[in-house]
């Protein structure tokens, strides 16, 4: 617990934290202010959709780059090698740093949402769902960033790798799906699209949050049953379980990598 508190204070002191806070506040206030200027407020509007798109685009990049940079820096300054000699389980070390980072980011995002709510009017449920979406993206992105930062040999490699992952999982993902699924028989295309959601946590979270905020026919009649299910308690639990499993797997893989390096060094 002591180590966790030290790590927590270290992440809170970083200048990036203030940049994050400023960025989220500006994004939320600008888009929210735009929505407020308009007369109709439905549950799922283009303002909410823009918020989802911007959060889904920028947050994974920021979080992955920051975590990968942190771990790359540890490696470059040889502190990672030193850490592997400590009488501390590697998973515990990874988990401690990951959870401290997550707690810091959760604090920053929550503060940004709370401050933005002074000038932006949205239903409490919408705020809560957007906040949950942000926390989910941070948790998933930080796990990916941790893994990439641990396997990267230096900061530059870690940053390049996380940027590459962001390009594939966010920017190129629709292009990849369009290219692959267009070749499949028409009858299984929708099922393939649903299956592909579980390969990309960012997309799974986006569709889940859209399902919660919007009507079931948001993605057309073909997905009405699926979106209805996703909006329910079982769907939400399945999404949560999937994201948590991937995060734990990433952290375990990072710990395994560090342990392997420790063995190599001692040999």
């Amino acid at each position: 617990m002591m180590l966790w508190r030290i790590e927590w204070s270290r992440t809170l002191r970083q200048k990036e934290s203030y940049v994050f806070l400023f960025t989220w506040m500006v994004t939320l206030v600008l888009l929210g202010g735009l929505g407020q200027a308009l007369p109709v407020a439905s549950a799922y509007t283009n303002v909410n959709a823009s918020l989802l798109t911007i959060i889904g685009l920028v947050l994974p990049l920021f979080v992955m780059l920051t975590t990968a940079l942190q771990w790359g820096g540890e490696r470059e300054s040889k502190r990672l090698r030193l850490l592997t000699t400590y009488p501390l389980s590697m998973f515990r070390l990874i988990w401690m740093r990951y959870s401290a980072f997550l707690a810091t980011q959760a604090l920053i995002v929550t503060l940004a949402y709370a401050l933005a709510s002074f000038v932006v009017s949205m239903p409490l449920t919408t705020w809560f769902v957007l906040w949950t979406y942000s926390i989910g993206l941070i948790a998933y992105g930080a796990a990916l960033g941790t893994f990439v930062g641990v396997i990267g040999r230096n900061r530059l490699q870690a940053v390049l790798l996380s940027f590459l992952i962001w390009i594939v999982m966010i920017l190129l993902w629709p292009t990849i799906l369009v290219s692959v699924i267009a070749w499949m028989p028409y009858g299984i295309q929708a099922e393939a699209m649903i299956g592909a959601l579980f390969l990309n946590g960012f997309e799974l979270l986006r569709v889940w949050v859209s399902a919660v905020l919007a009507a079931p026919d948001l993605f057309g009649a073909i997905y009405e049953t699926f979106i209805d299910w996703l909006d329910g308690s079982i769907g939400t639990a399945v999404v949560g379980f999937t994201i948590a499993t991937v995060i734990l797997w990433m952290l375990s893989a990072s710990a395994w990598w560090l342990r392997r390096e420790g063995r190599h060094d001692s040999a």
């Binding site: 180590l3 200027a37 303002v47 685009l57 993902w173 699209m193 073909i222």
Partner: protein, 395 residues
């Protein structure tokens, strides 16, 4: 004693007489109202099965204040109107077939008709007639609320149609004026096909349901005017296909999945509409030679000259529509950040893109929304941050 006997007899028989007045009248033959005759039903209820309950013929017949109930599986209309200048006033109909059928008529006035159907027949149907006036119609659960085929010069004022296939269905009439319609929870609010000079104004067209869920559909309609309507909560707000010289102006089309869907629509004028708060403001495909200016789209705007119009034009790229139209499964990609980028990268040529050269500027508006909860939460988080920083590093 004799007087008392008379009074007792009067008391004894009078309730029976009242009872007879309120009992429904079963009609085996239609009541035919001829020229210049008036039939005032005084609220009496009539039941008809295989024939219409009332038939208006000749010139200037009036039917007023009646309640009509049709037997199940009746296919004929409850009220049949043919001729010149007839009036049906305050008719309340529970219809299995069509409520009121007007055919080969001129200047017929239907005032406050109220039709509740079973979804099998039309609420009101007007065939091959001229200058029909329908005021204050209330229609629920019909196939088409108001169906008008051929003819011209019809006037619909304040029709309220709900839970039907089409709220208003126009097939080939000309010069039709629809004022203040309220059309909701139908499959399509108003279907306008093969018409000329139809105007729809000051209406509330919202929450159409089902796979189509369209507010207004214009198909091969010429010179249609859609003005000052509130169109919201539909799957598609206004759909125009193969329609020419349509003027869509000063409408509020908000909160729909797609506000405007234009396909092979030419010579249109789109001006002064508020198209914000929709999932997609417009999907345009092979729509050309249109005048589009001064609409509010909710996109990126920049007003350097401070005239309320943006110097950045609004472009509606059909990429997403074309993609989902070919492969329905890709609808799941709507709103994906990567697709937004892809849309920017793969820009469609200008001839298939709808461009508003001077969209209205969307202003930011901030009003204080602070609450005690948000203030307390912000304060606590700042304190947590402040005290969380105070620790020593361990390496």
């Amino acid at each position: 004693m004799r007087r008392l006997s008379w009074l007792l007899a009067l008391w004894f028989f009078s309730p029976i007489a009242v009872q007879a007045d309120t009992e429904p009248v079963l009609l085996e033959e239609p009541i035919v109202i001829q020229s210049n005759e008036t039939f005032n039903g005084a609220g009496k209820r009539f039941i008809s099965c295989e024939r219409p309950a009332f038939q208006l013929e000749g010139i200037g017949a009036v039917l007023e204040n009646v309640e009509i109930e049709q037997c199940e599986r009746t296919t004929v209309p409850a009220v049949l109107v043919e001729g010149l200048g007839h009036q049906v006033i305050d008719a309340r109909i529970e219809a299995a077939g069509t409520g009121i059928a007007v055919s080969d008529s001129h200047g017929v006035r239907l005032i406050r008709p109220n039709v509740t159907g079973t979804g099998r027949g039309e609420g009101i149907s007007v065939h091959n007639s001229e200058a029909t006036v329908i005021k204050g119609a209330i229609i629920d659960h019909a196939r088409d609320g108001i169906y008008i085929e051929d003819g011209s010069g019809h006037e619909l004022v304040r029709p309220l149609v709900m839970n039907s296939r089409y709220g208003i269905h126009l097939m080939f009439p000309t010069d039709v004026s629809i004022t203040s319609p309220i059309l909701h929870h139908n499959e399509t609010g108003a279907m306008v096909m093969g018409t000329e000079r139809v105007s729809i104004e000051n209406g509330q067209i919202h929450d159409q349901t089902g796979a189509t869920g369209m507010g207004l559909m214009l198909f091969e309609a010429v010179e249609t005017t859609v003005r000052a309507n509130a169109i919201h909560g539909n799957r598609v707000g206004i759909y125009a296909e193969k329609s020419e010289w349509t003027a869509i102006h000063h409408n509020g089309v908000n909160g729909n999945d797609i506000a405007l869907r234009l396909q092979r629509a030419t010579g249109m004028t789109l001006a002064g509409n508020d198209l914000t708060h929709n999932r997609y403001p417009v999907i345009s495909f092979k729509a050309a030679d249109n005048v589009i200016t001064g609409n509010r789209w909710g996109g990126l705007t920049l007003d350097l000259t401070e005239d309320g119009q943006s110097e950045i034009p609004y472009r509606a790229d059909p990429y997403l529509f074309l993609l989902a139209d070919s492969y329905e499964a890709f609808e799941l990609l709507y709103g994906a950040p990567g697709l937004t980028v892809l849309e920017r990268a793969l820009r469609s040529p200008d001839e298939v893109t709808l461009i508003d050269t001077a969209p209205l500027v969307t202003n930011f508006k901030f009003t204080w929304q602070g609450t005690v909860g948000a203030t307390v939460l912000s304060g606590l988080l700042m304190l947590l941050w402040r005290f969380g920083r105070k620790q020593d590093d361990y390496l």
